[in-house]
């Protein structure tokens, strides 16, 4: 809890939590989502059965990664595609940068991909002298602002229409007006130029289909489809956990992902990408590369207790329903993946100095209830806490505190004695008007709360007086 990321988090979160404009903006966005989600869920004959089925499909994929990844790789190669296994961010980044450099790429178009955020791909390409265009509208906006996405699915949801208008007037040419139609037209024009001149298109993957060697990409703007059909070199960068056994599994995964993500019955564009142009085909890319990224996922796979975290399909539903996310927003987390899934993942992907995020939760369980693949999110926050303590990362004062607590709770007389002393102390202090001052041992509480009335007698004492020993 003392790590630099923890201190940064506390600072940013406190600032955001007190920002009422921010709170209203988030509330409005999330209300909109909740209404759409409720409508979408209502379209399912049995939403719970769909969740269960998706859970089972991902269970099968993740628990047989060894089989399905190899099957996927074999199918991709059969069609002339290439597969690169990257152990970490650096390997994945280097592969893409070297590929782009060796093919003389000057311009890259990207469709939305959280994995490329995770490995910081764009800065690496830019450093190598290439121009990178995010083509998802939200991502395009945050790229112009030079900031990370705010949300997994809605990267620019924190910005107002006015902020975006101002940004576009500063950064783009041919912005006709401030209305949404003109703004979108301006972005579209800039992006079309990029699409038609880029030599390389980079996408993520929503699913990797093992039995057919296809990469499934889901977007609402059609930008993903353009990224994987126009440039002559195509690259899909994805985590190894995205593999699913069969093409027909998409029949339930696609609508469930769409509903959990935005409340849609089905996302507007669902694209299956298969490989480079083959002899006799009229068009298609010259090269097709899939980068399978591990980056800590194998270790999560080895953790039987938390393996289901790998089922995540990055729909963002847990963020939308999380009261902590609603209070502090996406940028406070300081991680690629914000919200409950990010807090669970952080110590695994980023290391133990990110354990604080597992404590930054009231454990309300709303995330687990909404998760379309039934990841046991809030219980994993508890597991992360236990793991942190067992690794000796608990603060000294807290460790000592719980040792004392254990001693006090080990006998009813001790409990009564300690409780009595604490109550008498607080009663005396509060009678003197010292509530919330430096002398108040419950200051951590009374700083933000009016102090409760402290009763003179405990329940057990009252019970004894009335009923005798029992």
């Amino acid at each position: 809890m003392n790590s630099a990321p923890a201190q940064e988090f506390l600072r940013r979160a406190a600032e955001r939590a007190a920002d009422l404009t921010h709170r209203q903006m988030l509330r409005a966005g999330m209300d909109h989502y909740q209404a759409n989600f409720a409508k979408g869920r209502g379209r399912f004959a049995d939403w719970e059965a769909a969740r269960q089925r998706c859970h089972e499909i991902k269970w099968e994929g993740v628990n047989h990664l060894d089989k399905y990844l190899l099957e996927f790789e074999a199918r991709v190669k059969e069609r002339g595609g290439r597969v690169f296994w990257a152990e970490n961010s650096e390997e994945a980044r280097n592969y893409v940068v070297n590929l782009a450099a060796s093919r003389g790429v000057r311009r890259v178009v990207k469709s939305k991909s959280m994995v490329t955020e995770e490995i910081h791909l764009s800065p690496a390409l830019e450093k190598a002298g290439m121009e990178v265009f995010e083509t998802d509208l939200g991502e395009f906006i945050v790229q112009l602002r030079n900031e990370p996405p705010y949300h997994i699915v809605m990267p620019a949801m924190h910005l107002t229409h006015a902020q975006i208008a101002k940004l576009f007037h500063e950064k783009l040419s041919d912005v006709a007006g401030d209305d949404p139609v003109s703004l979108v037209a301006a972005a579209r024009q800039a992006l079309r130029r990029a699409f038609f001149s880029a030599e390389m298109g980079i996408s993520g993957a929503n699913f990797l289909v093992a039995d057919s060697g296809l990469v499934a990409i889901t977007t609402n703007e059609g930008n993903g489809r353009l990224c994987v059909s126009l440039p002559r070199i195509q690259v899909a960068v994805t985590g190894i956990e995205k593999v699913i056994p069969r093409l027909r599994d998409l029949a339930v995964l696609w609508p469930t992902l769409a509903t959990a993500g935005t409340g849609q019955a089905i996302t507007t564009y669902n694209t299956l990408v298969g490989g480079p142009r083959r002899p006799g085909e009229p068009d298609g890319p010259e090269e097709f590369h899939v980068i399978l990224l591990d980056n800590g996922r194998s270790e999560l796979l080895a953790d039987a207790e938390q393996r289901d975290v790998l089922y995540c399909i990055r729909c963002g539903a847990c963020l939308n329903t999380c009261p902590v996310f609603r209070a502090i927003g996406g940028h406070s987390y300081g991680t690629t993946y914000p919200g409950p899934i990010g807090s669970v993942l952080a110590p695994h992907l980023r290391g133990p100095e990110f354990a604080h995020l597992s404590y930054a939760s009231s454990l309300c369980g709303a995330c687990t209830d909404i998760c379309p693949v039934k990841v046991d999110l809030h219980h994993h926050l508890l597991h992360n806490r236990r793991n942190a303590v067992n690794a000796g990362r608990g603060r000294f004062g807290e460790r000592l505190g719980f040792k004392l607590w254990r001693w006090a709770m080990a006998g009813a007389r001790r409990f009564e004695l300690v409780g009595g002393v604490v109550r008498a102390t607080l009663r005396a202090l509060y009678a003197l008007g010292l509530e919330g001052t430096a002398l108040d041992p419950a200051r951590a509480w009374t700083r933000n709360h009016a102090a409760p009335a402290i009763p003179r007698a405990s329940f057990r004492k009252l019970w004894r007086e009335k009923n005798g020993a029992r």
Partner: protein
């Protein structure tokens, strides 16, 4: 059936809300159950468990299992502590000599409203409380024990009580145990949203299954100089009909 219930009084109810414990006993007695309290009980272990100190939590949990081992039915005025025993003891006490007993105890311990409606099968406990009341769904009662209708059913049968629903009744109040002090600003922001929704409902009282949530909510409401008061559901159900 024995019709004898053993009380499981959470440590903070014992120390900070003794009235809630007494009211729980009163309700059970009024519907014809004999009530016992075993003063050897202390805490269920949840504070340490939730903070990651499972080695400290386990002996405290084992102690409670031993204290309650011979009880036929256990009733607890807290969704959270009931959840601890029913859902988390099996995991916390894996490998413990009392593991099997703990699992079994989880099937015999009930949150008050759950007990009244599902076990005693009573929805009218003969109470009167002529006020406008809103019910806050505390997270453990709602999402771990799946209690949504039971407390409302009981409240609807209280004479003179007008039950009104607040917006976002299912959203966490922001208490979360040590979360409320470790991340005080986030917790306060969540509590503030909750208080806003409570006030907007027009209720005179906000009630819940957990006194921990209510302690937090009360602290937030009073900081806002709100006129809405907090009251535990046991204390509403214990109000005598005139």
């Amino acid at each position: 059936m024995a019709r004898r219930a053993t009380l499981f009084i959470p440590c903070f109810v014992d120390q900070l809300g003794p009235q809630i414990g007494q009211d729980t006993a009163r309700v059970l007695q009024r519907i014809g159950w004999e009530v016992e309290f075993r003063p050897e009980q202390t805490c269920c272990g949840q504070p340490a468990f939730n903070s990651g100190y499972w080695n400290e939590a386990a002996p405290v949990a084992e102690r409670l299992v031993r204290v309650l081992r011979s009880a036929e039915v256990v009733v607890c005025p807290s969704g959270s502590c009931t959840t601890m025993v029913r859902h988390f003891y099996p995991e916390l006490l894996a490998g413990s000599p009392v593991h099997a007993e703990a699992v079994e105890l989880g099937q015999r311990v009930f949150e008050l409203a759950e007990f009244l409606v599902k076990i005693a099968q009573v929805t009218d406990v003969g109470a009167e409380f002529p006020h406008r009341v809103t019910y806050h769904d505390s997270c453990h009662a709602l999402r771990e024990l799946r209690l949504k209708e039971e407390p409302r059913e009981l409240l609807r049968h209280v004479r003179g009580l007008e039950l009104v629903e607040m917006g976002y009744a299912e959203e966490c109040c922001g208490f979360g145990g040590t979360f409320s002090t470790k991340f005080a600003m986030i917790s306060a922001s969540m509590g503030d949203s909750k208080a806003e929704n409570i006030e907007a409902s027009g209720a005179e009282y906000v009630t819940a299954a957990d006194s921990s949530c209510l302690l937090h909510i009360e602290g937030m409401l009073r900081r806002r100089n709100s006129r809405t008061r907090t009251i535990h559901i046991a204390s509403i159900l214990a109000q005598e009909a005139r």
